[in-house]
Amino acid sequence: MSDATIDPRLTGRAAPKRALRLSWSDPRFRAIVWQVVILGGVAIIAWYLISNTSRNLAARHIATGFAFLERTAGIPIGESLISYNPAADTYGRALVIGVLNTLKVSVIGIILATILGTLVGIGRLSKNWLMARLTAFYVETIRDLPLLLQLLFWYTVLQGLPAPRNAMSIGGAVWLSNRGLKLPTLDWEFAHTAAVIAFLIGCAGTWLWNRHARLRQEATGDRPPVWPVALCLLIGLPVVVWLMSGAPFQWDIPALRGFNFQGGTNVSPEYFALLLGLVTYTAGYIAEIVRSGIQAVPWGQWEAAGALGLKRGAILRRIVLPQALRVIIPPMTSQYLNLTKNSSLAVAIGYQDLVSIANTTLNQTGQAIEGIAVIMAVYLTISLSISLFMNWYNAHIALVER
C-alpha cells in the first residue's frame, strides 16, 4: 500500500483554522464580546468604588496616601530580626520588621508542621494499636478546638514558667523562665563566615564526588567509597579554614542583671506559644492529608513490593510515598497558606507580627485603608509565592503518563 494516506495526527501539522466572522452565531466572537462586557463592568465598579472612597476621605479631612511610611514611628517593637530604633526609624521599617516576624513564624511553622503532621499521619496507619489510637485521638481533638483558644492555652501554660530570679538553667548557659528561653550566642567573626563558605564548597564537592561515584558504578560496577571524601570536605575543610583564621570561639552567655537576662539571644514565650499552637493545629490537618494520600495508593502496590521482599518501612519510603505525594501536595498547599494566615492571631498573645504592627500604625496615623491595604498586599505576596512553589513542585513530581 505505497500510496496509503498518512495519519494527519503523525505529521505534526496544525489543524486548519476558520476566520473569525463578525456575527453573533460565531462562538469565538460571542466569547470575546462577553469577556469585554464583563471586564468593562468590573472596571466600572472598581473605578466607582475607588473614586467614591477618595471623595469621601477628602470630604472628611482624613489623611490619605502612603507618605506616613516615611514618618518616624515612635512605636516600640519587642522583638525584631533587624535593628530598630523607635526614635529614628520610620513606619516603613517597622512594617518590614512585622513582615520578617511573620515570615519567621510561618517558615519554621510550615517545616515543623509538615514533619509532625507526616509522622502523626503515618502513625495513625501503624499496626501498633496504641500508636494508632493515640494519633487518632490527637488529630480528632486538635481539629475540634478553635485555634485562638489553643494559642491562649499555650501562652497561659508558658506564663506558668518561673520568674527570671528562679529561672531553670542547663549548665549556666541556657536559661528558661517566663521571659523566654535564653540561649548563648557565638560572637560572630570573619573566621566563622569563612568556615561556612568552606562548608558550602564542601557540600558542592561532596555532591560532585557522589555523582562521579555513581557514574563509575554504572560504567564499571565498582563504586569508590564516598564517606571519606565527604568527611574531609564537610568537616575537615571548614575546621582547617577556621583554624587558619585564628580559631576565635567567644560566647555571649546570658546573665541575670536587674529585671531580666542580658546577653545571648532570646526565644520569647509569645513566639514559642504561637509556634506551638500553629504547629500542633496544622499538623492535625496535615496528618489527615498524608493518611489519605497513603491510603490512595492501591493495595496492589503494597502486595507487589512485599512479594519483592521489601520491609514495611522501605515500601513506605520507596514505593508508596512517591505515589502518595501526587494526592498530598495540592491540599498541603492550602494548609501552608492557612498556617501563614493564622499567624495573624499573634495579636491576641502579644507577638508583634505584621498585622499587630500594621494595626498599631493605622491607629497612630489614622489611615485605616492604607494600613489594611499593606496587610492584604503582603499576605497576597506570601501566599502567591507559596502557591507558585508548591505548583512547580507538584508538576515536578507528577508521574509522566504514556
Binding site: 476621605l57 470630604a59 531580666n260 542580658q262 494595626n359
Partner: protein, 341 residues
C-alpha cells in the same frame, strides 16, 4: 420613552420632598440622624471600671457612660435613648470615622496628630490624666527611673506606648514592650509576672489596683506621671453644630455645679430670679434654638444625669481617686465653662 419621563418626574418630586425635610433640620447631620433613629450611638470601652463598665444589673456605669447620657439628654431629651457601642483601642477611630458611632467617649488622649490626621476633633476634656506605671510591691521598685531593662505591658495603638517609648529614650534606659490588644489579657500577663510593669493612664491603673480588693497592697502605683493625658470626647469633623452641642452640654454641667444646682434640687430653681440660671434652665432666652435642640436641654441634662460634681462623686470617688485638677475652676481645677448667654 414614556417610562423615562415618569421616572424623572418621580425623582424630582422625591428631591423636593427631602429638600423640604432638610430645610427644617437642625443643621447637624449627626443630630438629624440620631433624631430619626431615636438613639444616640455612643462609642465607649465597656471594660474600664470608673469609666465604662456594666454593673451587676447590666447597666453601663462610669464617667464615659454618663458623658454619653448627658449628650443624649441634651440632643434627644431622654438620657435613656443612648445606645452603648463597645470599641477597642484598635477600632475606636474607624468606628467614629465611618459613622458607626455618633460620639466617642472612650478616654482618648487629645493629641495634635489625632486632631490633624483622623478627620476627627476633640469636643471637650472630661478627665485630665497622665501616664503612670504599676509594679508589684515585691519587686522593690519605688520610682520609674529604676525600671531600666524592664518588660512593660501596654495596649497597642494607644498614646501610652508612644509616651513610654519617649520616656525610656529620654532617660537613656532600655525596655521590652509587650503589646496585647485585650485588656483582660494584658492585666493577666502583668499579674502572672510576664511583665515587670503595667503602663496606661494613671486613673485606669488606680481603678485596676482598687478592683483587686484585698490584694491591692501587692501592687504599687509609682508616683511618676510621665506624660500629659487629657482624656476627651471625640466627634467627626465637618459637623459643627454637633460639636457645639457636646461642648455646651459640658458647659451646662459645670455651670450647674458652680451655681449649686444638682439633679435633686433643679426643680426648686425653676422660679429663680438669677438671669444666668433662668437662661441655663431655658426659662428665658433661646439658647436651645441656637443649638438646634429643645430649650430645656440643660434642664434635661442636669435632671437626668446631674452636674459635673455629681457625676464625679457617683463614678470616680468610689475608686478612691482625688478630684485634683478635675475640679471646677472656682475650686481650683481646670473645668471652666464659658457663659451661657
Amino acid at each position: 420613552m414614556r417610562g423615562m419621563s415618569w421616572a424623572v418626574a418621580l425623582m424630582a418630586l422625591g428631591c423636593l420632598a427631602t429638600a423640604g425635610a432638610h430645610a427644617q433640620g437642625s443643621g447637624s447631620a449627626t443630630l438629624d440622624a440620631a433624631k430619626a433613629r431615636g438613639q444616640v450611638l455612643c462609642g465607649m470601652a465597656g471594660t474600664v471600671p470608673g469609666f465604662s463598665l456594666p454593673d451587676s444589673q447590666g447597666v453601663m456605669r462610669g464617667l464615659d457612660a454618663d458623658t454619653c447620657r448627658a449628650v443624649t439628654a441634651a440632643a434627644l431629651g431622654d438620657a435613656n435613648k443612648v445606645k452603648f457601642v463597645p470599641t477597642t483601642t484598635q477600632n475606636r477611630f474607624t468606628a467614629l470615622q465611618s459613622g458607626e458611632v455618633d460620639v466617642l467617649s472612650r478616654s482618648t488622649t487629645w493629641t495634635l496628630s489625632r486632631e490633624g490626621n483622623l478627620g476627627l476633633e476633640f469636643a471637650w476634656v472630661n478627665f485630665y490624666d497622665g501616664t503612670g506605671f504599676l509594679v508589684k510591691t515585691a519587686s522593690g521598685v519605688k520610682a520609674a527611673k529604676e525600671l531600666d531593662g524592664a518588660t512593660v505591658c501596654v495596649a497597642p495603638g494607644s498614646t501610652t506606648e508612644l509616651a513610654v517609648a519617649d520616656y525610656f529614650r529620654l532617660k537613656n534606659m532600655k525596655f521590652t514592650p509587650i503589646l496585647i490588644q485585650d485588656l483582660a489579657e494584658i492585666q493577666g500577663a502583668f499579674m502572672s509576672g510576664r511583665c515587670d510593669a503595667y503602663s496606661t493612664d494613671a486613673s485606669a491603673l488606680a481603678t485596676f489596683r482598687f478592683s483587686q480588693g484585698p490584694r491591692a497592697a501587692d501592687l504599687l502605683l509609682l508616683p511618676d506621671i510621665i506624660s500629659k493625658d487629657p482624656l476627651g470626647v471625640m466627634v467627626r469633623k465637618g459637623d459643627d453644630k454637633w460639636y457645639d452641642l457636646i461642648r455646651w452640654t459640658f458647659a451646662a454641667m459645670i455651670t450647674a455645679e458652680e451655681k449649686g444646682i444638682s439633679s435633686q434640687n433643679v426643680d426648686t430653681f425653676m422660679d429663680s430670679k438669677d438671669p444666668d440660671i433662668r437662661r441655663l434652665l431655658g426659662i428665658e432666652g433661646d439658647m436651645g434654638k441656637a443649638l438646634g435642640i429643645d430649650p430645656k436641654w440643660a434642664y434635661n441634662v442636669i435632671k437626668q444625669v446631674g452636674n459635673l460634681g455629681e457625676v464625679w462623686d457617683r463614678d470616680i470617688t468610689p475608686m478612691g481617686l482625688p478630684r485634683g485638677i478635675n475640679n471646677i475652676w472656682t475650686k481650683g481645677g481646670l473645668q471652666y465653662a464659658p457663659p451661657i448667654r
